[in-house]
Assembly symmetry: C2
Homo-oligomer: 187 residues x 2
């Protein structure tokens, strides 16, 4: 089950820095890769940044279509996240090899990954210098969705360990998103 997230609150899905799955599609081809380097860039209209290396197939599909989705995997999907982050879609159908299944996005052609915690449908804001010099893409979020068991009322409320977001480190090592806590501003 998925529910829409108000666009000005879409940044909340990535504000805590989770690792994402980047999906892309063009001309009948589609792909998925993992990205630890993604974050919000602006609130409204919401924009996201993601770094996509030049030699990836995802890069080709994003540049051809001008679209991508950022899907926030759960800890239960960490194994698949590592797998699609370690292999190229040029060599294999990574949806098949990882077991990740998809459903249609609402406003873009790239598919969304089932079982994730949140989804951001993005259209590329063309910035050729950033793309060429830094592998850096800016996407405007045109639709945002969350799984209501973990995000509702504009806040995360992770229930069980397997439904927490994850933060990739290196070499197959992740952190789960940990304990929530509140701090009151003294004023």
């Amino acid at each position: 089950m998925i529910e829409p997230v108000d666009l000005p609150r879409a940044y909340l899905l990535l504000n805590h820095g989770p690792t994402v799955l980047v999906t892309s599609a063009h001309g009948g081809a589609r792909n998925v890769m993992a990205a630890a380097w993604a974050m919000p860039l602006d609130f409204s209209p919401p924009k996201m940044l993601v770094v996509v290396d030049k030699d990836t197939w995802t890069r080709e599909l994003i540049e051809a279509s001008g679209e991508f989705a950022l899907c926030i995997p759960s800890r239960a999907q960490a194994h698949a996240t590592l797998q699609v982050g370690s292999h190229s879609g040029r060599d294999e159908d990574k949806f098949q090899s990882s077991g990740l299944t998809t459903f249609a996005a609402s406003k873009i052609g790239a598919p969304l990954i089932e079982g994730c915690l949140g989804w951001l449908e993005c259209k590329v804001i063309p910035e050729p210098h950033n793309q060429q010099a830094y592998d850096l893409f800016i996407g405007e979020v045109v639709a945002a969705w969350a799984a209501p068991d973990v995000f509702s009322g504009n806040r995360w409320h992770f229930p069980a360990d397997e439904r927490r977001s994850v933060h990739y480190v290196a070499g197959g090592s992740f952190f789960a998103t940990g304990e929530a806590f509140n701090v009151a501003d003294p004023e």
Copy 2:
């Protein structure tokens, strides 16, 4: 106590998406602010991205000096992180009001915050269009440091709750960096 981090491994300090403290200095003035929107951009030479709003004093100091530091606060510093993220250094000395104390960086004029988990000394790679259109700064990391009780041998090993990194959400709400886990790539 702080120990140097090899520059090609500096990305590891931010790969899991923690919230940072941004320090800056110019002409006898200095400031500190919080930023949830910071992440690695490249491995070697390491580069970092950070979003710094136009109306902040930090922005003025960074643009004047061409330097900034990213300091990774611990959970024990979450209250101070919220405070320096909610007030302007134009109105008060945020080091004094937050209780954050500093020590000198090695290669830049901006101070480093005592008690943090890691530190990245950065020199701005000027990109006027990104800075103007998106409030986005690219810094090349010229020195990196970590506290050896939490990071050594090129890996994080958080000991106690109060020495974990934090991930800001909104409204005074944070997540602590949670449980570490490993996933083996099937191949």
